[in-house]
C-alpha cells in the first residue's frame, strides 16, 4: 500500500525562548529556530513504516515550511521513509490551516495514487488539529481523527479512535485520511545505516510554480484566519500557602473557608 505522511516542523520545545512572533502578521517566525518533527507526526511516520513492513508498498513524506524543514524530512528518511517532498516558497508564508491543507492537497495530487494519508492529530505549536480534516475535505475523502490503533484488511481500514471518555471503532474504505495520537506506537530512532542513507538522499523541493495552485487560496492571502493579537497571559493570583503543624494548618484552613463563606 502507498502511504503519504504529512509532517510539520515545529520549534524545539527545549529552545522556546528563541521563538519570536512577527509583529506584522502575528505569526511565528520559524527561520533560525531549531526545529523538530512535530511529535504526533513522528507517530504517524512510525505507523506508516509499520504498515509498510506488514503490507509492502511505499511511504512518502510531505512537509510545507521554510528550507530548514528539510532537516525534519531527512530525519523521516533516516527512519525509513522512501521519498520526501518539501513545499517551500515565500508565497506559502503566513498560511493558516485552510491554505496549508489546500496546498498539501494539491501536492498530494501531484505525488500520485495513494491508499492512506497519515498525520499527527495536531501540531504542538498551533494545536489546531485542523489540517488533517481540512486535507480530507480538499481531497474529498473520508477522515478518521485521533486514531490509537489502525488495522488494514484488503481495501478497508479499521481504526480505534480516542474520544473524551470512550473508544470508538470505525471502518472506512480506502483511501482515507487518518490522524493519530501518541498512544498508537513508540516512534523508532533512525539507525546509523538510515542516517547515512538519508544524508545522500535527494529531497525534492516544490515551489508554488510546481503545482497547479489557485494563487488566491495560498499563503497569507488564502488565509481567512487573522491573528489579531498575541500576548502572554498574566499569571493567575498567587495562592496563600499555609505551613506549620498539620493540626494548626487544618484549623487555619477551616477558619479561612468559613471567613470566605466557601461552604
Amino acid at each position: 500500500m502507498n502511504i503519504i505522511v504529512c509532517i510539520k516542523q515545529v520549534p524545539d520545545t527545549e529552545q522556546l525562548q528563541k521563538v519570536k512572533v512577527d509583529p506584522q502578521t502575528n505569526t511565528l517566525v520559524r527561520e533560525g529556530v531549531p526545529g523538530i518533527i512535530n511529535p504526533f507526526d513522528e507517530n504517524a511516520i512510525e505507523e506508516a513504516l509499520r504498515l509498510k513492513e506488514k503490507k509492502g508498498g511505499k511511504v512518502n513524506v510531505l512537509s510545507m515550511g521554510p528550507s530548514q524543514a528539510a532537516e525534519s524530512l531527512r530525519k523521516a528518511l533516516a527512519m525509513g521513509v522512501d521519498e520526501a517532498v518539501l513545499l517551500s516558497d515565500r508565497l506559502f508564508a503566513g498560511s493558516d490551516t485552510l491554505a496549508t491543507s489546500y496546498t498539501l492537497a494539491m501536492a498530494i495530487k501531484r505525488i500520485g495514487p495513494f491508499d492512506l494519508i497519515l498525520l499527527g492529530k495536531q501540531a504542538i505549536d498551533g494545536d489546531t488539529a485542523q489540517v488533517g480534516p481540512g486535507l480530507a475535505e480538499w481531497l474529498n475523502l473520508p477522515q478518521i481523527t485521533y486514531a490509537r490503533k489502525i488495522e488494514v484488511n484488503e481495501d478497508k481500514i479499521r481504526v480505534e479512535r480516542v474520544l473524551e471518555d470512550v473508544f470508538e471503532v470505525v471502518e472506512s474504505p480506502l483511501p482515507v485520511v487518518v490522524t493519530v495520537t501518541k498512544d498508537i506506537n513508540e516512534p523508532r530512532y533512525p539507525s546509523l545505516r538510515g542516517l547515512i542513507r538519508a544524508k545522500a538522499e535527494k529531497i525534492s523541493t516544490w515551489t508554488a510554480e510546481d503545482l497547479p495552485l489557485d494563487k488566491r487560496r495560498i499563503g497569507l492571502e488564502g488565509s481567512p484566519t487573522q491573528v489579531i493579537k498575541v500576548f502572554i497571559p498574566k499569571p493567575p493570583r498567587k495562592g496563600d500557602i499555609l505551613s506549620g503543624e498539620i493540626s494548626q494548618v487544618v484549623d487555619k484552613l477551616i477558619l479561612e473557608i468559613e471567613k470566605r463563606s466557601i461552604i
Binding site: R188, Y189, P190, S191, L192, R193, L195, I196, K199
Partner: protein, 379 residues
C-alpha cells in the same frame, strides 16, 4: 593536527547521545541494583546498527573507523558503564576476526555480529592465567577434522549471553606463550557449557561467567590464525581492547564529574553554593583537566590504529591513565557530594565501584606500566 569531527561523526554521536541519555542512563541504576542483564539496551544498540560500526560493509557492517567506535563507546559508557562494557567486549571478538580471520570465517561470523544478532566474547583468563597469559592451561588436542578442548575460563564478559567466542588455549603447556592457540567457538558446540556466575563489587549487571570445556569438539576450520600463534592474537586483541576499556573508564569519569559539578552548584552551605569555595573549585578543575588528558590519549590511540600505525603504547597509556583518572574522579565526586555521595540515592557511589574494575581488566595498571616501559626503553 585536526581535532574536529566529520559531519558523519557528529550526526552519529548526536543520535547515540540522545538514545544513551533517554534510555541507557535511565535504566543504569535499576539494572545495577537488580543485577539484571540490560537486554533492552543491547537490542537498541543492534537496531541502531551500532554493533556494525567498524565491521566492513562487505560483511554487513558500516565500515567506519575505530575512532568513531571509540566516540560512540564513550557516549554509551557515560550513560551506562555496563552497556559500554558489553559493547566493548563485543569488539574483542570482532576485532581479532577481522585481523586474523580467513575469508570464510569472516563471511560466516561477522554478519550476525554486525547486526547484533550474535554477541561476541573473548576468553583467555583462567584461575592460573591472567597477567601471565602464557600460563593458559586449557588444552587443545588435534584430531582428524577437529580439535578437542578441555579446561575452563573464568570472569568471561558477555559469558552466556554471547554467541561467538574467541578462546585462547594451549597446544603444549610446556611451551608457555609459544603454545597458545586461538579458536572461534560457537555457543551450542558439544562439550561447551557455562559454570559459575561471579558476583562483583560493582557492575553486577555485567555477565562475568565461567566457561567450561569438556571434550569440546571444535571443527578444524574454526582455528583462528595459526596453531601455536595464539599469543599474537591475544596480545593484539588486548591492545585494541585497551582503547575500549579506557574509553569505558573515561565515560564513567565524565558521568561522575558532571554529577559532582551539578551538585556543587546546587548545594548551599555557609549561605553560598559550595562551588564558590576554592577547595571545591580546585577539585573540579583537576577532575576536568585529567578527564581531558585521558580523552586525547585514547583518541590518539584509536587514530593510530585507524592509520595502521603502531598504537599499542598509546592504547596502554590511555587505558592506564583513563582508568586511574576514573578512580580518582569518582572518589572525588563522592567526596564533593559528602554524606549524600555515600548513599545509594545518588549515582556517584556506583560510579566509584564501577571505576575500580577498569584498573584491573584488560591488563592491570601494573601490566600496562610494564607494556609502556618495555616500549619506551626500546625506542
Amino acid at each position: 593536527m585536526d581535532f574536529s569531527l566529520s559531519d558523519d561523526q557528529k550526526m552519529i554521536l548526536e543520535l547515540v547521545e540522545e538514545v544513551s541519555q533517554a534510555e541507557f542512563a535511565l535504566r543504569a541504576d535499576e539494572i545495577s541494583k537488580k543485577g539484571e542483564f540490560p537486554g533492552e539496551n543491547i537490542k537498541k544498540l543492534a537496531e541502531l546498527d551500532l554493533f556494525g560500526v567498524t565491521i566492513p560493509k562487505e560483511y554487513g557492517g558500516l565500515g567506519m573507523d575505530y575512532l568513531t567506535w571509540t566516540l560512540v563507546s564513550e557516549k554509551i559508557s557515560k550513560a551506562c558503564a555496563t552497556t559500554g562494557l558489553i559493547f566493548g567486549a563485543n569488539l574483542l571478538c570482532t576485532y581479532p576476526l577481522m585481523v586474523f580471520g580467513t575469508e570464510d570465517q569472516k563471511r560466516k561470523f561477522l554478519p550476525p555480529l554486525a547486526r547484533g544478532e550474535a554477541l561476541g566474547a573473548f576468553a583467555l583468563t583462567e584461575p592460573e592465567a591472567g597477567s601471565d597469559a602464557g600460563n593458559v592451561q586449557t588444552i587443545a588436542k588435534k584430531g582428524e577434522d577437529h580439535y578437542t578442548l578441555n579446561g575452563s575460563k573464568i570472569f568471561i564478559t558477555n559469558g552466556e549471553v554471547a554467541h561467538t567466542y574467541i578462546v585462547i588455549t594451549t597446544m603444549d603447556r610446556s611451551l608457555g606463550p609459544r603454545g597458545l592457540t586461538a579458536f572461534i567457538l560457537e555457543k551450542g558446540t558439544s562439550g561447551f557449557s557455562f559454570g559459575q556466575h561471579f558476583e562483583k563489587m560493582g557492575l553486577s549487571a555485567l555477565p562475568n561467567v565461567e566457561l567450561i570445556f569438556h571434550d569440546c569438539r571444535v571443527p578444524k576450520e574454526n582455528l583462528l590464525y595459526k596453531e601455536k600463534r595464539g599469543f599474537r592474537v591475544a596480545m593484539q586483541t588486548f591492545a585494541a581492547g585497551r582503547i575500549g576499556v579506557g574509553i569505558g573508564a573515561l565515560g564513567v569519569a565524565e558521568a561522575a564529574f558532571e554529577e559532582a559539578k551539578k551538585y556543587s552548584k546546587q548545594r548551599v552551605q555557609f549561605g553560598r553554593s559550595i562551588s564558590s569555595f576554592q577547595a571545591i573549585q580546585h577539585t573540579l578543575a583537576d577532575m576536568a583537566t585529567e578527564i581531558e588528558g585521558a580523552k586525547y590519549l585514547l583518541y590518539r590511540a584509536a587514530w593510530l590504529l585507524d592509520q595502521g600505525k603502531p598504537f599499542e603504547k598509546l592504547a596502554s597509556m590511555g587505558k592506564l591513565y583513563a582508568s586511574e583518572v576514573a578512580m580518582k574522579v569518582t572518589t572525588k565526586a563522592v567526596q564533593i557530594l559528602g554524606g549524600y555521595g555515600y548513599t545509594k540515592d545518588y549515582p556517584v557511589e556506583r560510579y566509584m565501584r564501577e571505576a575500580k574494575l577498569f584498573e584491573i581488566i584488560e591488563g592491570t595498571s601494573e601490566i600496562q606500566r610494564g607494556v609502556i616501559a618495555n616500549k619506551i626503553l626500546k625506542e
